[in-house]
Symmetry: C2
Subunit: 207 residues, 2 copies
DNA sequence: ACAAAAAGTGCGGCTTCCGCAAATTTACGG
DNA sequence: CCGTAAATTTGCGGAAGCCGCACTTTTTGT
């Protein structure tokens, strides 16, 4: 044995790779043939692991699919921590969200992005996935609340404030994304998100 | 055959009774012996129906338990529609929430309320139920958005506004309730909710 | 290179969830 | 009241999902 502060650890890396491979495999197959027609067995095969291994990572198909979404959402909190402390809170949040969005677009710039959007649409349409989506959002919101608390010198456990801001921001992002997904003549996301967050910071005045 | 606008309909009534009986049974048993140790079979037995019938009403144990919560949350939108149109929106929302809260307290004033609070605590602690809780909140939020749209003359499909307000309000309520549940020296709920909604309407200024 | 720890795998079993068809109950018109 | 149509409940059967446990393989640290 030894200490447990090893940085990346080749081991940890492989684990993450498997996790991501399983998640993408689940999304791919679900998009391709519909969630109902995908068995855990298939996903495992696609990711080159044993069926049993799948459940070592995820406790359901839905969780595997939502995992990608969760990872992305987490980044917002990460990004917020990076913003300079001088920046006003709402500004920082807005920038963090938009930055994450840009990162996502760059990251899988070749084709996965297409798959990403399709994946999201799958999640919002399949009832059994909506729950997973919401759960992921909730987890991300917690982390966001922690980051906000840190930045504003408040206490997540005692003060209403950080969770309130995180919850409201999360709702705004959710609504903006939703609007974006259902816009018939496609519209850009960023303005929607900015608009939503701005209104929030303005106290949601009646239009 | 005939028209289908029968008001209560003896048939519909029985259905609702069964639904509620199943839901309460699920909560009772889950609180009593832990969710893991409750089988669908047991719930059905408690409600005096066949096991198969359970799945005619709910597609999972979790859904059955969250059903009570959902019904309550729905009432907020109902209540909002009843508020006079002259009342400012935020005022109306706040009142609607508090009224619903009061109704709930009166309704099951004898003992179920105790059970209710225990049930909620169960839901927030059991991971598998958190998802159901979130799903119920989402459904309630949709209805709230519809009510808000109606009241403000906006369009749920086209405008960001109603869903934004509903989402933010939902988040505020959630956070306030959460705070209430974990308050060690118990505190009253109402002030928490008022505080949360007021801050929202004020644009969530840093404290 | 070795021993310990962690991850992957296989097996077995218990539940859940759902489609289908028969039985039972309710609704409505005469 | 009675009979027929519709809706609900129930029983059966089966496909998956999910998970504990024990065994094997791989990684880690010395």
């Amino acid at each position: 044995m030894s200490r447990e502060a090893e940085r990346p650890g080749l081991r940890e890396r492989k684990k993450q790779e498997t996790r991501i491979a399983l998640s993408w495999a689940a999304i791919r197959l679900a998009v391709e043939r519909g969630l109902e027609n995908v068995r855990v067995e298939d996903i495992a095969a696609e990711a080159r692991v044993a069926p049993r291994t799948f459940n070592n990572y995820f406790s359901s198909k839905g969780e595997a699919i939502a995992a990608r979404h969760l990872d992305r959402a987490r980044l917002i909190a990460q990004e917020l921590r990076r913003r300079p402390a001088s920046e006003p809170l709402w500004e920082a949040i807005k920038t963090a969200v938009l930055t994450q969005l840009a990162m996502g677009e760059e990251y899988d710039a070749r084709q996965p992005d297409q798959q990403w959007q399709t994946g999201i649409q799958l999640m919002v349409s399949e009832p059994s996935l909506q729950g997973e989506m919401l759960k992921a959002n909730a987890i991300a919101e917690e982390e966001l609340a922690a980051a906000i608390a840190e930045r504003t010198g408040t206490d997540v456990a005692r003060d209403l404030y950080p969770r309130l801001v995180a919850g409201a921001a999360g709702a705004a992002i959710r609504v903006a994304m939703d609007q974006w997904l259902r816009a018939d003549p496609p519209v850009p996301v960023r303005p929607l998100i900015e608009d939503a967050l701005d209104r929030l910071a303005a106290g949601l005045p009646e239009p």
